[in-house]
């Protein structure tokens, strides 16, 4: 048996987690990388090692860019553990997870959370109907199953992912009924302060503009500044109704893909009671971190979109920086070497982050799609509407935790992942205070469903390195 405590546990094998694992391993750290998926890449590079040529061509170069990193990971000394669903993390850096239905636990000297982002909920009337999915879901189906829409499809909302998916569908030969854009016309110059800063990140800006140009050339029906979105249908989605160009519009479709940006997945950092702040630019909670990514809890770091939204490149760089700081903490590199090694990464991080404030301003999700009318369902698990939540506030409910006692809001199987942001903002607006004053759900383990039988049979993960680690790829 080897030492049951490993140098570094990383949760999440996306750009941040893989980069951190490679960097830490290069400095001699024993690294265990736990990931929920069956193969490395996170959401952005999901399935990149297995995707066929046609799918890669449809998804484009940013997708294939992940392959070298994924291959490097699989060839490295990092103990990569796929299909691991983390259900509890402690302040002492004990990570409890389910592996093929069996409960395992592992202790780390240091811990890096790299769990990335999830899509921001877009609670509009009818969003619970079968046939309504997220744009991210559409892209996951393309990446992991080579699936494309069969019937009429609408893309609705705002943000770069929406345009990217539209272009990917075009490349696949899929016609799009309509792109229903809730953002204003491309009034980049309105945001002149952010624009000046963003010029350092001009590549990111050009990328966005070229996506839009492609859609225009292809003749995709592009409705701008769409308001009052509403999905119609009985037992499944049939049409999207909205106002645009001063007229009421109705577009028929069996598949409606919604998107209004992404937000950090903070289930683990919240469950750890790390300090979080409300970020008004990104309209989400972000864990407080130092410049290396360390949270308010010593030895627990966050890199990538799980901290704040920055995109894949920023995530990869933050992963490198966190790994270097951790290597220094464990005395694998001295202060001098830490400074020398991190300098180029810090410079790169500056360039990679330059366009973000402009992107946040351009694609800021509309208030009406975050804080919906009374009759719209907000908590999908427990079927609680925005009006019901406002009713709780009128009865004296001050924050999300109390909504649970009032009507089980946020207490279903998703544990508030889908409704958390909406509930905070609805209460804040109705109380006329800031979201920071309202707070967030108190997240508790188990973060993933676990049976009592599984819990009872929990044991330490075999960390002996003599046997070849199990891998999903050969």
């Amino acid at each position: 048996m080897s030492d049951p405590v490993v140098d570094l546990i990383i949760i999440g094998a996306g750009p941040a987690g893989i980069s951190a694992a490679l960097e830490a391993s290069a400095h001699g750290l024993e690294v265990v990388l736990l990931d929920e998926q069956g193969s490395p890449g996170g959401q952005i590079w999901r399935n990149v090692a297995q995707a066929d040529t046609r799918t890669r061509q449809v998804l484009g170069s940013d997708y294939s860019a992940g392959q070298p990193l994924v291959e490097a990971l699989l060839a490295s000394n990092v103990r990569y553990q796929p299909n691991a669903a983390v259900w509890q993390v402690t302040e002492e850096r004990c990570v409890h997870f389910l592996l093929d239905g069996k409960a395992r636990v592992l202790q780390g000297r240091q811990l890096l959370i790299a769990t990335g982002a999830m899509e921001r909920p877009m609670p509009i009337p009818g969003w619970t109907l079968p046939g309504v999915m997220t744009a991210g879901a559409g892209q996951i189906l393309l990446k992991s199953a080579a699936l494309v829409p069969q019937g009429p499809v609408i893309l609705a909302g705002c943000g770069p992912l929406l345009y990217l998916l539209a272009v990917q569908y075009l490349r696949a030969g899929i016609g799009i009924e309509a792109l229903v854009d809730t953002s204003e016309r491309r009034d980049v110059f309105k945001h002149s302060r952010q624009l000046r800063q963003a010029l350092a990140g001009w590549r990111d800006l050009l990328k966005g503009l070229s996506l839009l140009a492609t859609l225009k050339r292809a003749g995709v029906k592009h409705y701008r500044a769409a308001r009052n979105l509403r999905v119609e249908g009985g037992r499944r989605a049939e049409a999207l109704c909205f106002d645009s160009d001063g007229r009421a519009q109705k577009v028929w479709a069996s598949l409606i893909l919604l998107h209004q940006g992404v937000a950090p997945n903070i289930q683990i950092s919240q469950s750890l009671r790390a300090d979080h702040d409300w970020n008004e630019q990104q309209l989400c909670w972000v864990a407080r971190r130092d410049s290396w990514g360390e949270t308010s809890l010593p030895g627990i770091f966050i890199a990538g979109d799980g901290g704040a939204i920055g995109g894949a490149n920023v995530a990869a760089t933050q992963g490198r920086l966190a790994a270097l700081a951790i290597a220094h903490r464990l005395q694998k590199i001295d202060a001098c070497r830490l400074q020398a090694l991190s300098k180029p990464w810090l410079q790169m991080l500056g360039r990679q982050s330059a366009a973000r404030p402009l992107i946040d301003a351009l694609y800021r999700p509309l208030a009406q799609n975050r804080i919906p009318h009374d009759d719209t369902i907000v908590c999908r698990c427990e079927e609680v509407s925005a009006g019901t939540i406002r009713g709780y506030v009128e009865l004296g409910c001050l924050g999300p935790n109390q909504t649970k006692a009032f009507g089980r809001c946020g207490m279903g199987p998703c544990q508030g992942r889908q409704c958390g942001l909406s509930v905070t903002e609805i209460i804040a607006e109705h109380r006329n205070v800031s979201p920071a004053q309202v707070g967030y759900y108190r997240i508790r383990p188990p973060l993933k469903p676990i049976t009592l039988a599984q819990l009872a049979s929990e044991r330490e993960l075999e960390t002996s390195t003599s046997s070849t680690p199990e891998r999903s790829l050969s």
Binding site: A137, L147, Q150
Partner: protein, 108 residues
């Protein structure tokens, strides 16, 4: 009127498997998640909400929303987007909450 099946393969899969949904045999691509496999057929809702029976189906595809819950080989509340489809799987809609298993009847 176009078909109501929501998704199709970009190109033919290398391999297909047979599963059963509510007793009906379905041919689906192998090597994909169960939720993805179900989306290649016209099934409509794949669950009924535990609160009011509202029809639901896969939404986020990344394990966040729990809308894709189904019963697989007798096991209730399985997240179809997080499990691979396997030849012979017997899948049913998740109707309401799962039953409480009393006296060690659970096989997990």
């Amino acid at each position: 009127m176009p078909t109501e099946t929501l998704f199709r393969r970009l190109q033919l899969a290398d391999k297909y498997v047979q599963i059963e949904f509510e007793g009906t045999p379905l041919t689906v691509p192998a090597d994909v998640s169960l939720a993805a496999a179900l989306l290649t057929h016209d099934l409509g809702a794949t669950r009924e909400s535990a609160i009011n029976g509202r029809p639901g189906a896969a939404y986020c595809m990344m394990g966040v929303c729990f809308e894709c819950l189904v019963e697989v080989d007798g096991q209730a509340n399985c997240q179809a987007c997080l499990i691979q489809v396997v030849e012979g799987m017997r899948v049913r809609r998740q109707r309401g909450a799962r039953d409480l298993l009393i006296g060690g009847q659970g096989d997990e």
